[in-house]
C-alpha cells in the first residue's frame, strides 16, 4: 500500500476540512479508504486505520459519570441491570469520579443551583467527553417551566444526544447510547465536533 496508516489518518481530516470530500456515508469509512480496503481484502489482509481503531475504543467503553438528578436516574439504573444490560455497549461502569468518565448522562431536572455544579463536573471530565441529556427535564425543562429549573441542560454543557420522554424507558437510553456510538464513530479522531 502506498499510503502509510499514519498518513491516511492525518489526510482524512485535512481533506474534510478543505471541503474536498463530503462527509462519509458510512461512519468511519471514506470512499478512498473503502477502495483500499476492498483491494486488501482480496488478498486476505484486513486493513483499518488508526482513527477507526481509536474511535472503536472510545465508543466501546463509554464510562458514564453518575449524574442522576431525578426520576430519570431510576430508568438509568434499570438500563444498567441484567435485563437491559448497558454492559453490552461497554457503558456499565458508572464512575463516581468525573476524572474517570467520558460520558455524562444528565438524568433529571437541573436546577439553577445545580447548573454550576454540573458544569464543574463536566469540566473535570477528561477529553474526549460526551453528554446525553436524558428526559424532558434535562433536555428542555419539561414540565418544570419555571424560574428554578434550567430550561435545557444544553444551556450549561454541550449536549450530544437528547432523549425525549418523562422518563424515557431503558430502551430509550440504550437507543441514545447506540446513537451516540454512531456519532463517535463518525467523528474524526482529532476531535472536530459537529
Amino acid at each position: 500500500m502506498g499510503l502509510s496508516t499514519r498518513d491516511e489518518v492525518l489526510a482524512v481530516p485535512r481533506l474534510l476540512r478543505a471541503g474536498g470530500l463530503q462527509a462519509p456515508a458510512l461512519p468511519g469509512v471514506i470512499p478512498a479508504e473503502r477502495d483500499l480496503a476492498d483491494a486488501a481484502a482480496q488478498e486476505g489482509i484486513f486493513a483499518t486505520t488508526v482513527g477507526k481503531v481509536i474511535a472503536w475504543g472510545r465508543y466501546s467503553s463509554l464510562w458514564p459519570a453518575t449524574f442522576g438528578l431525578a426520576c430519570c436516574a431510576i430508568e438509568m439504573m434499570a438500563a444498567s441491570n441484567a435485563r437491559f444490560d448497558l454492559a453490552r455497549f461497554g457503558a456499565e461502569v458508572f464512575r463516581a469520579s468525573p476524572r474517570q468518565s467520558d460520558l455524562m448522562i444528565v438524568a433529571g431536572r437541573v436546577s439553577q443551583k445545580m447548573g454550576p455544579v454540573l458544569r464543574q463536573i463536566y469540566d473535570q471530565m477528561p477529553d474526549p467527553k460526551w453528554v446525553i441529556s436524558m428526559g424532558a427535564c434535562a433536555s428542555c425543562g419539561g414540565i418544570f417551566n419555571n424560574y428554578a429549573i434550567i430550561q435545557g441542560v444544553d444551556k450549561v454543557v454541550p449536549v450530544d444526544v437528547y432523549i425525549p420522554g418523562c422518563p424515557p424507558r431503558p430502551e430509550g437510553l440504550l437507543d441514545a447510547v447506540i446513537k451516540l456510538q454512531k456519532k463517535i464513530a463518525a467523528t474524526p479522531v482529532n476531535g472536530i465536533r459537529e
Binding site: A82, A136, V161, P164, G165, P168, E171, D175
Partner: protein, 196 residues
Amino acid sequence: MFREMVGGLRITLREMMTKPITIQYPEEQRPVPPRHRGRHILHRYDNGLEKCIGCELCAGACPVGCIYVQAAENDPQHPVSPGERYAVRYEINLMRCIYCGYCAEACPTEAITLGPRLDLADYKRERLVATKDDLLEAWPGFHPMAQGVAEGRGAPAPQTSPLGAGSSHQGPAGSAPGLRPPIPGSRGSGGGAAPI
C-alpha cells in the same frame, strides 16, 4: 464450612444453567404494552380524511404546553377532515412532552393517540419538534387536498359529514362510543412495530 459454601454457590450454579434474561435491545425488542404511551400518532379515517378537527383541546389539556395547533376552515370540495374545521398546523415538541396522554384523553375524535415508538433520541433539539407530516398516519395513494373525497373508500361524504351540515350527527363529536366510525390502525396495533 464446605457445606455453607456449596449452599451459597447453589443459587449461582443454578442460575448458570438458566437462560439469561437480557434482552438484546436493538435486535430484540420487548413487546410494548398495549397502553404504552410513546410517540404520538395522528390518525385518519378509512377514506383518508384526517380525524383531527383542529379543536385545540389537546393543546388546552397539555400540562406542559408542548402542542401547537393552528386551525383553518375546510374547503368543502377538498376537505382535509370531515366537518368545517381542520388543523393546518399541528406541532408537538417531543422533547417538552411528558407522554402523559392527556391529549389523547381530551381528543373528541380520537385523532391523536400515543403510539408504541420508543427510540426517539436525536442529536439536535430542533429535530425533536414533530410536525403534522411527521405525526400523521401514512395513507398510501391518497392525498385529500389533491384528490377529494369522491375517490375515498366509502366514508363520511363531506356534505353529510359528522360535524358539517345535514343529519348525520353520529360523528366524531358525538359522545356515544358506539356511534363513532370504526377506528382503523388505532393504538396498540402491531405490538412493537412502529407504524411511522
